[in-house]
């Protein structure tokens, strides 16, 4: 039964991709941002599916039991805050800009040849690491539920999502995300209810959990306090620069829709994470007395086996695969657009037709997808820590130049470039030094801000004024709307 449900789910994904292909095959606007026509309902579910990933869903229960509630909370609470930060700091300016990708913003704001190369390259590197961690998750789920060995599961799940991204572009990713987001949220609520019922006496189960897993309670035991701050800050800042999130902002019908859907999605995501912490963790501790917390990624599925029947297990398997594949598909879309749109079209062949750009992007999807599948054959442990490092790299490099570029008119191309390179290099150096988990961003992010500001002040010669004014011109219409909103309060 589980096999049938999961195979049926895969077929639905591919079918959606094929339907989307008919609309997107000749238009980059359709292929990269779904024609900028997505409404609030659509984008809300798509945002959930984009954020909820292998780490935040499948690894959530095991990570909490192994690393403690405070660290697990620091890892998941940063993202909802990050979406709010993004909705205030970047959603409006980027949607008004009306382009496709993160590099498009830097190009429009700074007109820097260096950034035209560095930004997409960093996106491809970080997104690939993120994709590898998600692929590991999809292979574990498929292997656990369907009895496939790790490599078979990895190739099948990998090929399915590469296929639907390459043929249907962002529209296919979005339609699949809606389906996947609703499926995921429903199954998490269903699992919460089933686990709560199976536990029986909840207060007794809660107390038994804390006794059996003393590491759950404390703040200072599992990690340094800097790890908690770093994990939270990483996600609170990274969301504003994550390429697959920003592409979704560009795809919104208007600014208000983008902002409402960002916040709605995170409210629903927060509810899911509370269900994990308050219900699923004690359920796993009490219903699985011999749980192996050295393999935290498998614990969630073992719990589902314990409380669900065959149909429930099949649906949950599809839901977890949905969480993983939707995030992976979004990241793959970010990678392929960085290659097809930002590197190929803008740098190598500006005269390329829309059809040619789409074909190159589709080819890039296959190349990146296959490479990531190969890298995922021997992946490291702890999904959630691995992909947190990948997003921390993006936050360290892009957050300060983007936020200052939007909100501080004196930011120069040299300043933003220095902050970008400095942030990325310092993050890499701190990561190599073996600092406490997730704390690298606490060095790299302030340094990136400092470099951007200092170098901007030193290089402020008026040379960048034209690029800045052209960028600010894209924001004029919005300013009138904001003033109007203010006057009504």
């Amino acid at each position: 039964m589980t096999l049938m449900i999961v195979l049926g789910y895969f077929l639905v994904l591919i079918a959606i991709g094929m339907v989307a292909y008919r609309r997107v095959r000749n238009s980059t606007d359709e292929f990269f941002v779904a024609g900028r026509s997505l409404g609030t309902f659509v984008n809300s579910w798509a945002f959930i599916a984009s954020l909820a990933s292998g780490g935040s869903v499948m690894a959530s229960v095991g990570s909490a039991l192994a690393l403690g509630f405070p660290f697990a909370a620091a890892l998941v609470a940063g993202a909802p805050v990050g979406f709010v930060v993004a909705s205030v700091l970047v959603a409006r300016p980027l949607r008004n800009l009306g382009k496709y990708t993160v590099p498009d913003f830097f190009d429009a704001r700074f007109n820097s040849p260096m950034m035209r190369v560095v930004v997409p390259v960093l996106i491809v590197i970080a997104s690939s690491v993120y994709i590898v961690s998600q692929l590991k998750g999809s292979a574990i789920v498929a292997g656990h539920l369907l009895g496939w060995d790790y490599q078979t599961a990895l190739w099948i799940a990998g090929i399915v999502f590469v296929l639907y991204v390459s043929i249907g572009g962002f529209l296919s990713v979005t339609w699949n995300d809606i389906f996947q987001g609703i499926l995921l949220f429903s199954c998490m609520v269903g699992l919460g209810i089933a686990a709560f019922s199976a536990m029986g006496d909840f207060p007794a189960a809660w107390n038994a959990t804390l006794e059996a897993y003393p590491a759950l309670t404390g703040a200072a035991d599992a990690h340094s306090i800097w790890s908690y701050v770093g994990a939270f800050l990483t996600w609170a800042t990274a969301i504003s620069v994550l390429p697959h999130v920003i592409m979704r902002v560009y795809s919104a019908r208007n600014v208000r829709s983008a902002r409402v859907s960002l916040n709605t999605a995170m409210l629903l995501f927060g509810v899911m994470m509370l269900i994990v912490a308050i219900v699923l963790v004690p359920a796993a501790a009490t219903l699985l007395p011999n749980a192996d917390i050295t393999d935290p990624d498998a614990l969630f599925l073992t719990l589902a086996d314990r409380v669900f029947g065959p149909i429930g297990q099949g649906l949950l398997a599809a839901a977890v695969l949905a969480a993983i594949m939707s995030t992976t598909a979004g990241l793959l879309m970010a990678c392929n657009s960085a290659i097809g749109h930002d590197l190929y079209h803008r740098l190598l062949r500006p005269q390329a037709s829309q059809k040619e750009v789409i074909r190159v992007t589709q080819a890039a999807t296959w190349v990146v997808g296959i490479l990531c599948i190969l890298l995922a054959i021997n992946p490291p442990e702890f999904l959630i820590v691995l992909y947190t490092a990948a997003v921390a790299l993006l936050a360290s490099a892009f957050f300060a130049p983007m936020v200052l570029g939007i909100w501080w008119r004196r930011t120069t191309a040299a300043g933003a470039g220095a902050g970008m390179i400095g942030g990325a290099v310092l993050f890499g150096t701190a990561f190599a030094m073996g600092l406490p988990t997730s704390s690298e961003v606490l060095i790299a992010l302030p340094a990136s801000f400092l470099l951007t500001i200092v170098v901007s002040l030193v290089t402020s010669s008026g040379r960048d004024d034209d690029a800045r004014d052209a960028w600010l011109a894209t924001q004029e219409t919005d300013k009138e709307a904001t003033a109007d909103a203010e006057s009504t309060r």
Partner: protein, 67 residues
Amino acid sequence: MSRSTPTATRGEVGLLAGIAVLAVVTFTPLFNDVEIAGVALIAWLLWFTMIAAPVGGLILALRSKED
């Protein structure tokens, strides 16, 4: 002609300031030893922030008139 930068509304500034204050309180070492229902206060505050921040953001977004 030189153009001015975008501006945030008072509500947006207040929301970001509120999140920052909550984060500072959450990570202050003074509260490391405080527990509620056997779980460190830091975890409860983070869970609260995880819900309160999007609620605040949603209210602001729904009140805005931009389109």
